[in-house]
C-alpha cells in the first residue's frame, strides 16, 4: 500500500460509515415525517454507501478478508435501520397493549 493509497483508503472507510449513518438517520426521519425528500435522501445515502463499498473493494489494496467484510457490512447497514425501527415500534406497541388493553382492543 503506497502512502497515497493509505490516505485514500482511510477517507473511503470513514465515508463508508458516514454514509451508513446518513442512511439510517434519513430513513428514520422519513418514517417519522413521511417526507418524500427525506426518503429520497435515504436512498441516495445508501447508493453512496454502495458506491464507496465498490470503490473500496475494486480499487484499494486492502486484503481480501477486509473486502469481504466491507461488502457484507454494506448489506447489514441496509438492514439495521428498518430492523431496529420495527423492533422499537413493536416494543412500544406491546407496551401500549400491556397498559391500555381495553382501548387497544377497540
Amino acid at each position: 500500500m503506497t502512502p497515497s493509497q493509505m490516505l485514500a483508503t482511510a477517507i473511503l472507510l470513514g465515508g463508508f460509515v458516514a454514509a451508513a449513518g446518513a442512511c439510517g438517520l434519513l430513513y428514520c426521519a422519513a418514517r417519522i415525517s413521511g417526507h418524500k425528500l427525506l426518503r429520497a435522501g435515504g436512498y441516495v445515502s445508501y447508493a453512496a454507501l454502495c458506491l464507496i463499498a465498490f470503490a473500496l473493494v475494486a480499487f484499494t489494496p486492502l486484503h481480501v478478508g477486509w473486502k469481504v467484510l466491507i461488502a457484507a457490512s454494506c448489506a447489514v447497514y441496509l438492514m439495521i435501520p428498518p430492523v431496529t425501527w420495527r423492533y422499537l415500534t413493536r416494543l412500544h406497541r406491546e407496551e401500549k397493549i400491556q397498559w391500555y388493553p381495553t382501548s387497544s382492543a377497540r
Binding site: 502512502p3 483508503t9 472507510l13 460509515v17 426521519a29 457490512s73 431496529t84
Partner: protein, 466 residues
C-alpha cells in the same frame, strides 16, 4: 431529596470543576505544539498532558458516580446503603485529586525509585497517579460497588438496568487493579495495560453510560422502562460482543503476535453497527417527542451523545482501525482526533445531560430553557469539531509524511513538526480549544444561573391535545 442524591450533586459539581481543569491543561498542552520552547525548564509538556488526560478520566468518573448516586435511590426507593462511608470517601477522593495535581504541578517527576512511584508518579500512561492515590481510587470504586450492590440486596429488589449495572461493576473495579503490577518486560506490561485502558473505555464505561442514559431517558422524557431495558440488553450485548476483542486494535508496535491485528481489526470494524442502532433509537425517541422536552438542554445533550458516539467512535474509528491503515496512523494526531471525538460523544455529552437533569430536579423546576445553554451547546460542539478536524488533518499529514514516507525515523518526526499543514492544524486546534473553553465558561454560568422554563402556547396546546 435523599442523602445519596446530595452526594450525587457533590460529585457532579466536582466533575464540572475537573472538566474545567481538563480544558485548562488541554489548552496549555496545545500551546507547546505551536511554541515548542513554551515554559521550558519550568513546566514540562508531558506533565501538562498527564493532567489533561488524567483530568479527563477523573471528570468522567466523577460524573458517572454522581449520576449513579443521583438515580440509585430513586430506582430502589430507599437510601443508599453505606452512604456515610461514601460521603467520607467523596472528600478523600477530592483531597487525593487535589494533592496529586499539586505534586504534578510542583514536583513533576522523580528519580527511578520505589518512593517516586508511591509519591510522585506511577509512570503508567493515563493512570499516572502515584500509588497511594491509585489505592485511594480503588477504595472509592470498591465502596461505590458496595453502595450499589448493598442497596439492591437490602431493598430485596432489582431492575433490569440495575442488574446490568451490578454485573458491570465487577469488571469495572477488577480491571482497575491492572494499574498496579510492575512488569519488567515492556511488551507484557503494555499488553495488560491496554486491558485496563481499552476495556474500561470501550466495554465497562460503555455499559455504565448505557445504564445512565437509560435512567436519563426514563426521567427526562418518561420513556417506558420496558422499552429502555429491552434496548439496553441488545445494546450491551452488541457493544460487549464487538468491543472486548476490539482490544486488538491497540496492539501495534508493542511486540504482540500478528494475529491480534486481524482480531482487533475485525471486531472493531463491527463496532459501528450497534452505534448505528443507537442513532436510530435516538431519532425514534426524538421524533416521538417531536423534539420537545421540558428540560431542553438535557434532551439536546442526550441527542448529541448518540450522534457524537456514532461519528466520533464509529466514523473516526473505522477510518483508521483496519491494520493496513492503523500501522501508520497509530499514535499520531489522527488517533488524538479520534480520542477527542469519541470521548466527547460517548461520555462527555452524556454527563452534561445528567448535569442538567439533576439541576432541574434538585431546584424543583418544571423544565429548563433559556439562551445560555444554546450558546454553550453550540460553542462546545463547534469547538470540539474544530479541534478534531484540525487534529485529523495534522494526523493524516503525519501518517503520510512522517510514518509512510519517512519511515517513522527521528529525522522524519522532526521534519514533520515544520510542515505547514501540521503547524496550521496545531494553530486551528489551539483556537478551537479556546472556543471550547468559552463554551465551558457559559455552561458553568448556565448551571449556576439556569431558570425554569416558561410554559409556552405550544406546550399548552400539546397538553390539551394529550
Amino acid at each position: 431529596m435523599y442523602r445519596s442524591q446530595r452526594l450525587g450533586l457533590k460529585y457532579l459539581t466536582a466533575s464540572t470543576v475537573m472538566f474545567g481543569a481538563m480544558i485548562a491543561f488541554g489548552v496549555l498542552s496545545s500551546i507547546y505544539y505551536i511554541r515548542p520552547g513554551f515554559l521550558l525548564n519550568v513546566f514540562n509538556f508531558s506533565t501538562a498532558k498527564i493532567i489533561h488526560i488524567d483530568g479527563l478520566v477523573i471528570w468522567l468518573l466523577m460524573g458517572f458516580l454522581g449520576a449513579i448516586y443521583w438515580f440509585l435511590p430513586q430506582e430502589l426507593e430507599r437510601e443508599v446503603e453505606g452512604i456515610a462511608l461514601a460521603e467520607i470517601l467523596f472528600w478523600v477522593f477530592c483531597a487525593a485529586v487535589a494533592v496529586v495535581v499539586v505534586v504534578f504541578l510542583f514536583v513533576q517527576y522523580g528519580s527511578a525509585t520505589e518512593a517516586s512511584m508511591w509519591f510522585i508518579n506511577q509512570g503508567r500512561k493515563y493512570v499516572e497517579a502515584p500509588r497511594w492515590a491509585a489505592l485511594g481510587i480503588a477504595a472509592v470504586m470498591g465502596v461505590f460497588a458496595f453502595n450499589v450492590i448493598g442497596t439492591a440486596v437490602k431493598a430485596r429488589k432489582s431492575t433490569g438496568i440495575l442488574t446490568v449495572l451490578i454485573l458491570d461493576l465487577v469488571p469495572l473495579v477488577v480491571l482497575y487493579f491492572d494499574a498496579f503490577p510492575e512488569m519488567r518486560n515492556m511488551s507484557q506490561d503494555l499488553f495488560w495495560w491496554w486491558w485496563l485502558v481499552h476495556l474500561w473505555v470501550e466495554a465497562t464505561w460503555e455499559v455504565l453510560i448505557g445504564c445512565i442514559m437509560a435512567w436519563t431517558l426514563i426521567h427526562l422524557v418518561g420513556a417506558s422502562r420496558r422499552v429502555v431495558e429491552s434496548w439496553l440488553y441488545v445494546e450491551v450485548a452488541l457493544v460487549l460482543g464487538t468491543g472486548i476483542l476490539g482490544l486488538g486494535h491497540h496492539y501495534f508496535w508493542i511486540g504482540t503476535p500478528r494475529y491480534w491485528f486481524a482480531i482487533g481489526g475485525f471486531f472493531s470494524a463491527l463496532e459501528p453497527l450497534p452505534l448505528l442502532g443507537m442513532v436510530v433509537h435516538a431519532v425514534y425517541d426524538a421524533g416521538s417527542h417531536h423534539l420537545r422536552a421540558a428540560n431542553r438542554p438535557a434532551f439536546y445533550w442526550t441527542l448529541a451523545e448518540a450522534f457524537g458516539n456514532f461519528i466520533g467512535g464509529g466514523v473516526w474509528g473505522f477510518m483508521m482501525t483496519l491494520p493496513q491503515i492503523n500501522m501508520y496512523s497509530h499514535g499520531t494526531q489522527w488517533t488524538a482526533s479520534h480520542g477527542h471525538f469519541a470521548f466527547w460523544g460517548a461520555y462527555g455529552c452524556g454527563v452534561i445531560a445528567v448535569l442538567y437533569l439533576a439541576l432541574e430536579k434538585s431546584r424543583g423546576y418544571e423544565g429548563i430553557d433559556g439562551r445560555a445553554w444554546k450558546w454553550s451547546f453550540a460553542l462546545l460542539n463547534i469547538g470540539m469539531l474544530g479541534m478534531v478536524g484540525a487534529l485529523l488533518v495534522a494526523g493524516m499529514d503525519q501518517a503520510f509524511y512522517e510514518r509512510a514516507i519517512g519511515g517513522s525515523t527521528w529525522n522524519a518526526f522532526l521534519a514533520m513538526q515544520g510542515r505547514p499543514w501540521f503547524i496550521e492544524g496545531m494553530w486551528t486546534r489551539f483556537a478551537s480549544g479556546l472556543l471550547f473553553a468559552c463554551g465551558y465558561g457559559i455552561l458553568v454560568y448556565d448551571l449556576l444561573a439556569a431558570r425554569p422554563r416558561e410554559a409556552t402556547v405550544s406546550d399548552s396546546m400539546a397538553a390539551a391535545g394529550s
